[in-house]
């Protein structure tokens, strides 16, 4: 054993004596910290075990729940699609009835010349 190691060994002995003589209040706090850490670990382990147990017990029921959720989602999507279609149809219906109620024939709205005339006419009137 060389001199450095001998010295280090003596230092270690003194340091150990220092930890033995630690303030009791601090020792209690450390003890509490340890309890918290160990309890936390135990809780995690218990939680994991409980989760695993539940999974094993309700294996089929969880599958059923998943299936039901998927069916409900699909039905919801189909419903939304149909609802949108009805909404769009009623909008078109309103436009069509407005066009039909107007004096202009519907073919006038499809005529490009009519649009050009409308734009020119509106510009002239604004000047």
């Amino acid at each position: 054993m060389n001199e450095d190691l001998k010295f280090a060994y003596k230092v270690r002995q003194i340091l150990d004596q220092g930890t033995d003589a630690l303030d009791p209040k601090l020792a209690i706090r450390l003890h509490q910290s340890r309890q918290v850490a160990v309890t936390g670990c135990q809780l995690t382990a218990n939680k994991l075990a409980t989760t695993t147990g539940h999974f094993a017990d309700g294996h089929f029921s969880s599958h059923l729940r998943t299936l039901l959720a998927a069916v409900a989602l699909t039905l919801g999507a189909i419903g939304a699609y149909y609802w949108n279609s009805f909404e769009q149809a009623s909008e078109y219906e309103e436009i069509d009835s407005a066009l039909l109620a107007d004096e202009l024939p519907p073919s006038a709205y499809l005529d490009r010349g009519f649009h050009t005339w409308l734009e020119n006419d509106s510009q002239q009137s604004s000047e």
Partner: protein, 187 residues
């Protein structure tokens, strides 16, 4: 799964040294306690299922990282405080243990309380000198000689080469020996 008792026993065996290590670096009881609790909780939460033989090194790695982080934060936060506190240590330079020891040996019969006082003074001086060591030297010295990790394990915990560990340990030993000799302490 490791038993709760094994984990508790392991933590009980390292908690005081861990606290002291944190105190050497941080100089604040509350922060040191927080660091130790945090390290314990991390070990328990993440590594309790690992073989018990790996715990010492894992715990030291967690602890040293936490100490380093806290040390960096406190250094940035209170540069001025650190500067001022370094001046206040000058008063302690006047204390000479050698005088106390020589007085004791001359006196007739060393009573037990007197020995205890002597011992506690020696512990105080040594701990203060360890606090004064550069952080990396202190870390290497304590891991190697107090926590009894081997050179490879110490290097892994510190994130440096084995050569660096040897250098840090050697420097720490010589600095410590010189500082104690200056104070008249012979181990």
């Amino acid at each position: 799964m490791t038993s709760r008792i094994e984990l508790s026993d392991f933590l009980a065996s390292v908690e005081r040294r861990a606290f002291k290590q944190a105190m050497f670096a941080i100089h604040n009881e509350e922060t040191a306690l927080d660091i130790v609790q945090d390290a314990m909780m991390r070990l328990a939460a993440k590594y309790s299922d690992r073989p018990t033989t790996e715990w010492p090194m894992l715990f030291q790695r967690i602890l040293q990282n936490a100490i380093r982080d806290s040390y960096r934060r406190s250094k940035v936060r209170s540069t001025w405080t650190t500067l001022l506190s370094s001046f206040s240590n000058e008063d302690e330079e006047d204390y000479d243990l050698l005088e106390t020891i020589s007085a004791e040996t001359e006196s007739e019969g060393l009573t037990q309380p007197y020995r205890l006082l002597e011992r506690s003074q020696l512990i105080d001086i040594l701990e203060k000198e360890i606090e004064k060591l550069p952080p990396r030297q202190r870390e290497a010295f304590l891991l190697r000689y107090w926590e009894e990790l081997d050179i490879a394990e110490t290097a892994e915990v510190m994130g440096c080469s084995e050569g660096s560990v040897k250098t840090h340990c050697s420097r720490a030993t010589h600095t410590l020996a010189a500082a104690l000799k200056l104070k008249g302490v012979e181990l």
